[in-house]
Each structure stands twice: as structure tokens, then as C-alpha cells.
């Protein structure tokens, strides 16, 4: 690496990479926050794609180095215990991803009090 001092810290570089283009940003969806959530989802989709590609590279390297045979992962037969573990892992994963819907359902059923009512109750003299 060169000795050049860019006067930019690592944190500044991270911030600069994502800096906004000058000019008012248009929002298209009826709700700005929905569009922001879409933006987050698309970035996660990209990062998932990057991860899949990294795994594919890893698999190629393992084959090249003779650690595994080509197609060994595609033909891999997990044991009964492994299948059961993966099923639970998948259920837990989906529950994490869709936690907001689970909690919304619970709230529909629970008739929870709002914070102001609770505070009013707690501050009654």
C-alpha cells in the first residue's frame, strides 16, 4: 500500500461510499418508509447473491484441491438426524424473518393496552 495520506479515515470512506447524489431524491411508492424498506431488501438480496457466489467459489476450490468430489454437495444425503436439525433450523430462520407478522398476529389476539393508558394507570394518585 502506498504511503499517500488521503486524509480519509476508514469510517469516512464507508460513509463516502454511500453518500447521496446532490439533487432531491424522488420517492415513488405511496409511503416513503415502504420504499426505504424495499431499498434495504434489495441490498440484502444483493448480499445474499454475493454469499451464494462465495459458497460456489469455495465449493470449486474444495473440488480443485481434492477435498471433495465435484457434485458431492449436490448429491449429499444428510442423515436422518441432520434432516431433522435442518428442519428446525429452517423453522427458526423463517420465524426470525417473519417475526413482525407473528407479533402482529399476537397483538390482534391480545388486545394489548397502549403505553399512554398504562402510564395513566401507573401514575394515578
Amino acid at each position: 500500500m502506498s504511503e499517500l495520506n488521503t486524509q480519509l479515515s476508514d469510517a469516512e470512506k464507508i460513509n463516502l461510499a454511500g453518500t447521496k447524489a446532490k439533487g432531491q431524491r424522488p420517492y415513488f411508492l405511496a409511503d416513503k418508509q415502504t420504499e426505504q424498506a424495499l431499498s434495504v431488501a434489495m441490498t440484502l438480496a444483493m448480499e445474499l447473491s454475493v454469499t451464494k457466489e462465495r459458497l460456489a467459489s469455495l465449493e470449486c476450490l474444495l473440488v480443485d484441491k481434492g477435498v471433495i468430489a465435484k457434485g458431492e454437495i449436490d448429491n449429499y444425503q444428510p442423515s436422518k438426524e441432520e434432516v431433522a436439525k435442518r428442519s428446525l433450523d429452517t423453522q427458526a430462520y423463517l420465524a426470525r424473518v417473519l417475526r413482525i407478522m407473528q407479533q402482529d398476529k399476537e397483538e390482534l389476539e391480545a388486545n394489548d393496552p397502549d403505553m399512554q393508558s398504562v402510564q395513566d394507570e401507573l401514575t394515578k394518585s
Binding site: K13, L16, K20, K22, P26, F28, M42, M46, S49, E53
Partner: protein, 406 residues
């Protein structure tokens, strides 16, 4: 499995000395974003037209009793259409992701790149910088095509982040159709001259608004005996362009920091070829006549002036105008629409050119088809496709020459 639909990887791009390198995940990001752009234009964009025809157009007709009359009317109605909203949100966001990905990649190695650029620029007469050049309002008011820092911002002394980011990201936005050096436009011009005007041997060539020089280099390469002057207002772009050209072995091109509204350092009639590539749409009603008058003054009798652009709106149906106009409002290209509705021949005539000298001709990106495939007309990503309309003129020739697509 057939490979015919596989897109080229960003990795096939020619790696000149100052080109940013990509590690595994950076490359995967650029390729993902390239695929996302293609998916949006080939799979999702056609639905925008369906939404227009089945929902929005009938709505406008019910409201007004008439066919939609302007791209602005179509846009106002489309902005309330859910499908258009979602496609637009995705397209805008993809552009922002591409800039972040490219900038993060460049900033991660900026010390190395700047070091190489500094060495290439040291005491070299082929780079002429001028601190008195002010970035004009048409470039400064917003960051054009949502590129943070536009072409000219420097984040530290001698920084070239914006230029390197632009160079590496052109592939992503155009899905690779500009070729290994993202120079399909310049190659298109060179190829057109080679096949249609093999006897034309310009001695001095001026390329205006050259940015990183990608479309000027094919001219320097194609006319090795010519001296090419490439001008731009953006200091980091010129420094990067110079280092880029030098590393590609081209020494007959000089990069000059200048505003094309003021080229008084060059004599009347001192150039026999003057080009711009995707430049006119980044000007303004104030700057364009000044630049055209300069071109008229600088162009030698019998010389060629050629402007590569996307086609003008005149004669297109309102939907096509509307969709081509998306970048005007939603991708920080505020002069795109106003420029594309100008009667350009009249504008040129008002600047002293003889309308009899002028012609239009199609120019197609010239790239290695073995790597990049043939330009497709289907699934065109309007405004970003590598098929241009060149507006040209042979000064004082009264369009004696009938022009053909190369």
C-alpha cells in the same frame, strides 16, 4: 444448459493500469447489479407499457375524452400507477446501489490508484490543468445521473474517486454493451468513419466533455497521426483520463481542463474533426449555443462535427417519449428532456451553421461480439442503449455526402 443468455462478467473488462481491481465479493456485487439492471429492463419494464395501455391510457381518455397528448401528462398519471411506482423505485435504487458498490470498491484502494495517477501526470505536457476553470451550473446544480460528486468532486488533494467509480460502473449501467473499455460510442464513431469515410484523415481532433476519455481514445487510436485534444471541466476526470490513456499506450491525446463555452486558446478553423459523446443532454439552453458557436469557429472548412446522442423525441409516440424521459426527472438528468425536444437543426443554424450541411445517422456500439454479444433491440433500456443517433455536419459541404449506418 445453453449459455446464450449468459451475460459477460465485469471481469472481462480491460484492466488498464489505473482501473480499480475487484476482489471476489466486489466482483459478485457488480455482476449482480448488472444482472439486476438487465432484469429490470427486460423482464419488468415491459409491464410498465402494459400498465400504461391497460390502465393509465384508458384513465386519461376517460378523463379528457382524448388520447394522451404529452409525455408530461402521461408521467403525471403514471406516477399514481402501482406498477410504475415499483419499477421506478427499483430502478432508482439500483442506480444508487451501483454507485455505492463502485465507490466502496474504489475508496478501498484509492491510495494505490492516486499514486499511479500522480506518477502518470507528473510533468506531462499531455495533461493541461487550469485552476481558473469553474464548474458551470449545468454540471454543478445536481450530481448528474445520481453519481455522488458528479465528475468533478475531489475528497482530498488529487483525489480521483469519482472518475474511477464512473469508469468501472459504466459496464454495470449499460450491462456491458459498451465493450471492454466502455468505449462503444467512440468505437462506433471510429468504425463509421473507417467504413463510410476511409479517405477522411483529420490532423487535429477535438473531443468536448470527454470525462475519463473513454470515447476519445478510439479516435486517437484510429488516427495515430492526428493530435487529439480532449477537454472537460472536471479536474479528477482529466487526471484519471490522462493516466488511463497513457497506460493504454496512447500518446497522441492531450487532456485539457477547459470550459467549452470558452476555448479562446484555439485558433479559428484549427480542428478538422470535433466530436461529443452523450454530452449535449448535460448542457443548458444558456451553454449549448455558446459551445456550438465555438465549434463552428474552431471547425475547419470541410471538417466534420459529430454529436453522439440518443434520438430526439420528435416523431415518437407519447409513451416512448415518457419512458425515455424517466432519467430527466428521476435520475438527475434535468436537461435530458429539454434537449431531446429541441429542433437541433434550428439551434445549430442559429449558431451559424448551414442547415444544408447537416445530417443524421445511426451509430451502433462497436464491441467484441464474441465476449459481449450483439446489441439487441428487444428489452431496450431506453436512454441507456448502445445504439445512438449521431447528428453531424460536414462544414461547407452542403450534405453532398449521403450518410449510411456503418
Amino acid at each position: 444448459m445453453s449459455n446464450s443468455n449468459a451475460l459477460p462478467s465485469w471481469d472481462v473488462l480491460t484492466k488498464h493500469d489505473v482501473f480499480p481491481v475487484a476482489n471476489h465479493d466486489e466482483l459478485a456485487r457488480l455482476n449482480f447489479l448488472t444482472h439486476l439492471n438487465v432484469h429490470l429492463s427486460s423482464q419488468i419494464l415491459p409491464g410498465v407499457k402494459t400498465a400504461y395501455e391497460t390502465q393509465v391510457k384508458p384513465e386519461i381518455m376517460a378523463e379528457t375524452g382524448k388520447d394522451p397528448s404529452s409525455r408530461h401528462q402521461v408521467r403525471q398519471h403514471m406516477l399514481n400507477n402501482g406498477y410504475f411506482q415499483m419499477w421506478s423505485a427499483l430502478r432508482r435504487n439500483t442506480m444508487e446501489m451501483r454507485h455505492q458498490a463502485a465507490r466502496a470498491q474504489v475508496l478501498g484502494q484509492i491510495e494505490n490508484i492516486v499514486d499511479k495517477v500522480d506518477k502518470a501526470c507528473h510533468n506531462d505536457a499531455n495533461l493541461q490543468l487550469d485552476d481558473n476553470v469553474v464548474v458551470p451550473p449545468n454540471v454543478a446544480m445536481v450530481d448528474i445521473h445520481c453519481q455522488p460528486g458528479c465528475y468533478y468532486q475531489e475528497y482530498f488533494e488529487n483525489d480521483v474517486t469519482v472518475a474511477a467509480s464512473y469508469d468501472l460502473g459504466l459496464f454495470v449501467t449499460t450491462a456491458g454493451l459498451l465493450g471492454a473499455l466502455s468505449d462503444g460510442g467512440g468505437q462506433g464513431i471510429a468504425n463509421w468513419l473507417k467504413t463510410q469515410h476511409p479517405d477522411f484523415k483529420p490532423k487535429r481532433i477535438l473531443d468536448i466533455g470527454c470525462t475519463v476519455g473513454h470515447n476519445a481514445l478510439p479516435l486517437a487510436e484510429h488516427f495515430p497521426d492526428a493530435q487529439v485534444i480532449a477537454v472537460d471541466v472536471a479536474r479528477p476526470s482529466l487526471r484519471y483520463a490522462h493516466a488511463r490513456a497513457k497506460s493504454l499506450g496512447l500518446t497522441n491525446i492531450q487532456f485539457v481542463q477547459a470550459n467549452a463555452e470558452d476555448l479562446r486558446q484555439y485558433e479559428d478553423g484549427s480542428f478538422d474533426l470535433i466530436t461529443t459523446s452523450m454530452f449535449l443532454h448535460e448542457l443548458s439552453h444558456q451553454s449549448m449555443p455558446k459551445i456550438l458557436k465555438n465549434i463552428n469557429r474552431l471547425l475547419a472548412d470541410g471538417g466534420l462535427n459529430l454529436h453522439l446522442e440518443q434520438p430526439q423525441y420528435a416523431g415518437m409516440d407519447v409513451y416512448q417519449q415518457f419512458i425515455r424521459d424517466w432519467d430527466t426527472y428521476f435520475n438527475n438528468e434535468p436537461y435530458w428532456g429539454p434537449m431531446h425536444e429541441l429542433e437541433l437543426k434550428q439551434v445549430f443554424a442559429d449558431c451559424g451553421f448551414d442547415p444544408q450541411d447537416m445530417f443524421d445517422v445511426g451509430v451502433v456500439s462497436k464491441v467484441d461480439e464474441k465476449i459481449f454479444g450483439k446489441p439487441k433491440s428487444e428489452g431496450e433500456d431506453y436512454g441507456r442503449s448502445p445504439v445512438w443517433n449521431a447528428l453531424g455536419l460536414w462544414k461547407g459541404q452542403n450534405a453532398k455526402i449521403s450518410e449510411k449506418v456503418a
